[in-house]
């Protein structure tokens, strides 16, 4: 039993280590991936601030910060999950699948590695936003926000792996990125408050797991949220668990 557990941990660690090595080698890509949310924060923040009012007050650019952290975590996690397609395309997947290790733990290791890179990127955005003058309510709130990034990251990596094991080319990947990630971001309340939406939109927003991630981040960082924090956390955990199980299962059946 102990031996089995050791092997499982070693498998997870090996896959995590690989993601870290690759992450470290692609520093320029990381900087590039931070550019989009930063542009959003600077330009969208300034534009909204000068044109819109929320509840009678001018739009506060700090409102965007949790949404953009959520967006980075979503992009980077989905990317991490879907990167299995690359592993298949470039052959490395065969090397993993032929090793005498459990495929579930391989997938888990990949997920843990991917979520680590996502959280690092989320933290970077959080720090940059702080440098730009956005104030967070407390240190414990910041730590809780990191935990939220981790849990939502696991969920979206699971989703990415699930999608990746269903599509067989990297053309399909482009489809996923445009038809899945953009709507998830736009329908999450990252850019607008979700309290006064028309019925159909509100339905989509509440069906979107990212909404709960963004809401929880906003609660912990800024001290305000529309959805009660307990509900957000529960849903995020349920989403992460369901996606891990589904992703792990489909990955196990994947053919090379």
């Amino acid at each position: 039993m102990k031996k089995v557990l050791n092997r499982a941990l070693q498998t997870v660690y090996t896959m995590w280590l690989r993601e870290m090595l690759r992450f470290w080698r692609s520093k320029s890509r990381i900087i590039g991936s931070l550019a989009t949310p930063l542009f959003f924060m600077v330009f969208l923040g300034a534009g909204f601030n000068s044109s819109f009012q929320v509840g009678g007050r001018p739009f506060d650019p700090s409102y965007l910060a949790p949404g953009l952290i959520g967006m980075v975590v979503l992009f980077s996690s989905m990317m991490g999950g879907v990167s299995i397609i690359w592993d298949r395309e470039f052959g490395f997947l065969k090397e993993i699948l032929i090793a005498p290790v459990s495929r579930f733990f391989v997938a888990l290791g990949k997920a843990v590695g991917g979520v680590t890179t996502s959280v690092i990127q989320g933290i970077l955005i959080m720090c940059i936003a702080r440098l730009m003058g956005i104030e967070y309510q407390s240190l414990s709130g910041v730590i809780a926000a990191i935990a939220v990034m981790f849990v939502s990251g696991i969920g979206f990596i699971g989703l990415g792996i699930t999608v990746a094991s269903r599509i067989d080319s990297h053309e399909g990947f482009q489809m996923v990125m445009s038809f899945l990630t953009m709507p998830l971001v736009l329908l999450s309340g990252a850019f607008f408050p979700i309290s006064k939406l028309p019925g159909w939109l509100s339905l989509l927003v509440y069906a979107n797991p990212l909404t709960y991630g963004v809401e929880a981040l906003r609660y912990f960082l800024l001290g305000e949220s529309i959805i009660p924090i307990f509900r957000s956390i529960t849903i995020l955990f349920a989403f992460a668990l369901a996606m891990t199980l589904l992703g792990g299962k489909l990955f196990g059946k994947m053919k090379v």
């Binding site: 092997r7 070693q10 498998t11 660690y13 090996t14 280590l17 690989r18 090595l21 690759r22 080698r25 692609s26 395309e89 470039f90 052959g91 490395f92 997947l93 065969k94 090397e95 993993i96 699948l97 032929i98 090793a99 005498p100 290790v101 053919k255 090379v256």
Partner: protein
């Protein structure tokens, strides 16, 4: 355990195509065994089943004493595999690739370090150990993959077209490594190839495979001797005379017909040099005019031709092969 590999009527079907048809082979521990056949013959499918990547449609196979279906994890621990296409992580260094492999196979830190040095030295990549794999040439990648396949001391090593697409010099190098592995490390090696010279030069026994069937299996020498002497190729002026000429030789009993293709007739005879005049006079007596004659020692190509009626190098790929090939490229 008597055999390193033992299969019993192992079969693989893709939809209505039979890629491997009831193949039964046994490979002894320490043997260097070759699967020779054209593209799409079923070589890769056969070793995919033996290495637990593909499941057999029917039949049984044991590798190092373990059933490939019921004990796949045990099989995986005991084999190393070098695929046709690269499976390295090209963003990592050579050493990192080997290290991750060692971890996946449960080697501890000390063993990994020692073994990485050993296998790198074996394939002469020690100096490039810390370079990113993306900067490697095709030959270097193949060598690194062979090194990686050996990291965990496998008992059986599968090499799928180990020298495909490599220049002759690199190919010779890889051949030397394969021989050393087999002799020095004592690894049982099963390789697939469609290069006759490769099978001839390296393998102790060869299974010739075509359309999923094993058509011949023996040592390279025995396969060639089985043809019955030297090969004579006669080029005819009129291709229609082929059957007539073959009948004459058949009746006379002086030569064995290997095959007839286009305007050429392949025959084998004992003491070729002395038989040519006799062979030619038989033809001219029957009024068949011959444009050219050539004589050579038999090669595995002739063996393949004899058993399948086609040259292994035949450029015209038959329909079923094309389908097989498509399946493979789709699955990449």
């Amino acid at each position: 355990m008597l055999y390193a590999i033992e299969t019993e009527e192992i079969t693989k079907r893709f939809d209505d195509i039979v890629a491997v048809n009831k193949v039964s082979i046994s490979v002894k521990p320490g043997e260097l065994f070759g699967l020779l056949g054209p593209n799409g013959a079923g070589k890769t499918t056969l070793i995919s089943m033996l290495s637990t990547i593909a499941e057999p449609t029917s039949g049984k196979a044991k590798v190092w004493g373990f059933d490939v279906e019921k004990e796949s994890s045990k099989v995986r621990e005991n084999i190393g595999m070098v695929f046709q296409d690269t499976t390295l992580d090209d963003r990592l260094t050579g050493k990192e690739n080997l290290d991750l492999h060692g971890r996946l196979y449960g080697l501890d830190g000390k063993t990994r370090k020692k073994r990485i040095e050993e296998v790198l030295a074996l394939v002469e990549l020690t100096e490039r150990a810390d370079s990113i794999v993306r900067t490697f040439s095709g030959g270097m990648m193949r060598r690194l993959e062979i090194a990686r396949g050996l990291m965990h001391h496998p008992h059986v090593l599968f090499l799928d077209e180990p020298t495909l697409g490599l220049d002759p010099q690199t190919r010779n190098h890889i051949w030397e490594y394969i021989k050393i592995l087999n002799k020095v490390e004592g690894v049982t090696i099963v390789l697939t190839t469609h290069y006759m010279e490769e099978a001839d030069h390296l393998c102790e026994r060869i299974a010739i495979i075509d359309h999923g069937d094993i058509v011949a299996l023996d040592t390279p020498e025995a396969l060639k001797d089985g043809l019955g002497g030297d090969v004579i190729i006669l080029q005819l002026e009129k291709p229609d005379d082929k059957s007539k000429l073959c009948d004459i030789y058949d009746k006379n009993g002086c030569a064995k017909i290997v095959s007839r293709q286009n305007d050429e007739v392949f025959i084998t005879v004992k003491n070729g040099e002395h038989q040519i005049p006799h062979i030619l006079s038989l033809a001219s007596n029957a009024g068949i005019s011959i444009l050219a004659v050539s004589l050579r020692k038999p090669t595995l190509d002739d063996v393949f031709l004899h058993h399948t009626g086609r040259a292994i190098r035949d450029k015209r790929v038959s329909e079923i092969e094309q389908v097989g090939f498509k399946i493979r490229s789709r699955r990449k």
